[in-house]
Symmetry: C2
Subunit: 324 residues, 2 copies
Amino acid sequence: MQNSTSVFKLSIIGFGAVGQGVAKVVQNVPQLKVVAIADSKGVALMPDLEDVLARKRAGQPIANSDLTALDVIRTVEHDVVVEVTPTNIDDGEPGLTHVREALKNKRNVVTSNKGPLVAAFSELTHLARTQGVALRYEATVGGAMPIINLIRDTLAGARVLGIRGVLNGTCNYILTRMAEEALDYDQVLSEAQDMGIAEADPTYDVTGIDTACKVVILANAFFDRNATFADVNVTGIDRITQDALQLARQRGFVVKLIGDVQELTVSPKLIPLRHPLNVSGTLNAASILTDTAGEITVAGKGAGSIETASAILSDILSIMRSRD
Amino acid sequence: MQNSTSVFKLSIIGFGAVGQGVAKVVQNVPQLKVVAIADSKGVALMPDLEDVLARKRAGQPIANSDLTALDVIRTVEHDVVVEVTPTNIDDGEPGLTHVREALKNKRNVVTSNKGPLVAAFSELTHLARTQGVALRYEATVGGAMPIINLIRDTLAGARVLGIRGVLNGTCNYILTRMAEEALDYDQVLSEAQDMGIAEADPTYDVTGIDTACKVVILANAFFDRNATFADVNVTGIDRITQDALQLARQRGFVVKLIGDVQELTVSPKLIPLRHPLNVSGTLNAASILTDTAGEITVAGKGAGSIETASAILSDILSIMRSRD
């Protein structure tokens, strides 16, 4: 980066919590320039970031052009499309079209959107390769907790034999409070909803769908599985009883919703109290079993707009560095 | 790496447990060629790795030349000097001279030896920069637990505000068993010595010296401190009482020997039972507090010849990639 004096141009496609987080964190990096922001209502070209963030907070429109998100991706000259529209696991849209068009137009893509990767991982990674651009997605798994780039870069000397993770903060929060305060599932879920930790409709989290999407992404990235959501055997936490948790605790275990990437399973599993995967609250954690480095566990905040934006920024910087 | 067809040439300077581990792990990477191995008795040029490993195991000499380690570093054409002689914290030698001469001869250096970095961090990093070569030292802190490259590469998008770590497996093993089995320090130390987890002379570990060296390296690498060992305020675990551990436990804490990089301190500290730094046995762990990614904790095996060699290999591969 020190060698680079040229500016790296970005678009931000999707301007919810994560997109706004990206707009905040990129302001700290002088070499980055946001040339367009698209929200569901329209496109702001050459936006003043402080101004669009203030407009968004005030519920005012940010659009200053007649372009659509796809127009930006196809026609505005820039280096990286930051695709941060909401995850849609049915068909991956609109993210899938955004990512595909960006790659076709030889733009690098950084995304936090699991939808396109769960729907069309092989197609998209193949397209990126043939177009000679990067497709990076650290933020899709574990928020600020590094895992994809950790394995790819930092653990490059070791072969990955397995990955198991606590990959959903909502589930982990519910299980932690149930175990530690002997509360029932419904009561903790309801409080988590009041606190904004669980969604009004918590299905996507508590039935294990979100974790399964992350398992698919990791399996495709590191085990060449070409898996989709349908390949994952999924059991959520919505039928966990207080009895089960107490029995586990008496025997020196906690119950965690574990995504097992090698097995392509998501289910509540017993984890020894002393194991580093036993993280509490909304934390995420992943254990990477390797041939030569043993088991490496990483833990961090799995959600949050700034935290997710931080993972996106690390991907953007990595692309910048590889270009220098 | 896929693009590289040329061979990357290494020397291994020091052929104890870690050096032998390096000889084992590099055999899995066809692009790497070991052109010389030096042990305390002499130098093997163009060694057959299986043969020198077998000779070492049998207590036979490996040398097949009249060269010294310094001759190899200065005169044999190669890309990376892997400096893995034992750590000497008094003056850093002989590692310091090895590293300095390697850099002067424009060879990249990868090391697990804390001595040179604690004695002369600024000189060596400056020399590497002016010579246009890499000096990498992931293996000096935390063995296979990634921390230096994790911060430098994977967390590049965030600013590091602080680093705290459980950085010595011997101390962590002793504290874990004292706390969980209500055993006294002397008893656990003696058993750890029998098991080979603690050295016959455990001073370097239990008085906190080893942890302090790691704190110095991290402080210099990430906080521009230009610190040496004398700048660290060090308290070991050798006066910890059973009472202190039990009192902590009753209040929901464990006692861990914590290296605090920002503070330049090493001392036993209270860590909440639920905190990810609460790892047990010989595990190491480090928590990295950042501005945007929150607190990231990583845990893994802090020692072991193959584990340390794995960290060295990741550094070598990183240098190879940046050359491509």
